[in-house]
Symmetry: C2
Subunit: 290 residues, 2 copies
Amino acid sequence: MDEATAFAPGHVTAFFAPYPDRDPVRAGSRGAGLALSDGVEVTVRPADGTGEGSDPAGDAGLASLELDGVPAGMEPVERVLAELNVAAEVEVFSDVPVGAGFGVSGAAALATALAANAAFELDRSENDLVRVAHAAEAAAGTGLGDVVGQFRGGLPVRLEPGAPGYGRMDGVPARPRVEYVSFGELSTERVLGGDLDPVREAGEAALTRLMRAPDEAELLAAGREFAVEAGLQVPEVAEAVEAVEAEGGLASMAMLGRTVYALGTGLSDAGYDPAACSIHPTGATLRPEE
Amino acid sequence: MDEATAFAPGHVTAFFAPYPDRDPVRAGSRGAGLALSDGVEVTVRPADGTGEGSDPAGDAGLASLELDGVPAGMEPVERVLAELNVAAEVEVFSDVPVGAGFGVSGAAALATALAANAAFELDRSENDLVRVAHAAEAAAGTGLGDVVGQFRGGLPVRLEPGAPGYGRMDGVPARPRVEYVSFGELSTERVLGGDLDPVREAGEAALTRLMRAPDEAELLAAGREFAVEAGLQVPEVAEAVEAVEAEGGLASMAMLGRTVYALGTGLSDAGYDPAACSIHPTGATLRPEE
């Protein structure tokens, strides 16, 4: 095989309790979110174009990366290729906006791991590949919980933080329609540079609340409460959430992005012009061979 | 909601090491298999047609069951509804033959659990519902590993036996085309009524072999070796496997059924007239609301 393609869903975090750790496979977060049918597709091909195995000579890593056709840098993707010890060209296409709370960097890392395993015939297991992508994202400081949620799909719940073998997952068994509107980027680093204790406390409370009655309405309500308690809500998002609620809908803020998401037709009903998608039941997966 | 529908993939077991246990959530098997895009769809509706919650008065359970339009009995489905304490009518449609090694009873139990949770708004988590279906199947004696494989999807690997919270899963990250031919039923009870030690030993050896290089070819080769070592291969299946191999393909026997499956176009190439499908990436899932 000379190239391979994999898809990973966008992941909106409803709420989270961060648990950083010096060991990136143990680092992670408790929390819950939504894996979306809109996501990220990654194609990986060997840098020398031959498709011949890995290159232990020292020039493993990212030969080139294009994001939606434009040269770009993505540290988690670089780290994945270095860890897998392969030299590759990578093309990333994203249905969802970058830097707006959809976990694009985690999705790109995870899809890169799955595609590279196939393109280079690395014979890693799924857990191994998820572990590599999770650790790459944690080490890069771009996320703590998206990768494991994006691998599970559905409405993933992170019961315990960390990569497979360390963390523990569950899920909310519902598949609602989702609408979203993004108002732009939000700096994860700036938000998480401060005191994490109030965020962690609000995230733990939200998880306890959700697992008492794990359905889609409770996921949104727990996320809504978390955004307020953790002090993370931004003005345009708060306004949109209130507009949806005024029409009887359920909405909340994507963590961490200047993005509002709603169940069903919540944002349309409130007069917004949202993107719409469904819940991605699969989680990240290699594209089947034609 | 007055009714809900869920799908669970058919699951072909490539090899297994059985670990029965008096506690049905701990009972299970190590092993690996293939989750197929062909599978089982289940629609659940409240027996009284009202959609009003559960009925703790004592008549919870299966009001009626139709399998492909014909009244039938399915003990694992009955046990799921009793455990969830709801009275329901259940319709099961199967793309794959019953009793031929596709895990139809496990798929029916799992899809029933997911659909009943939605139809009766039970607010169980995904792990809870998988646990209920796994325990129902183990208690009924109809299977030990299909349910957890059917929930994970892909090419699921059971690293440790048991329901979520007890067992541990991994997966082979490949999505090949699959062909299969069934020559009829095989009695699981008769095969597994004897000495399990040789089966367990062959299953453990196959799992060790697979995890050294977890790809699709190794899954088939490990399954092929297991069938011989465990003494489970039946004549028509052995003949078909050899015919596929004579054409350079990879095939093995579905455990436990009088069924041969092959990668790619293996069975077509050998002159058989197989059913064809793909690997189901999702695992069992509630059908999205329209």
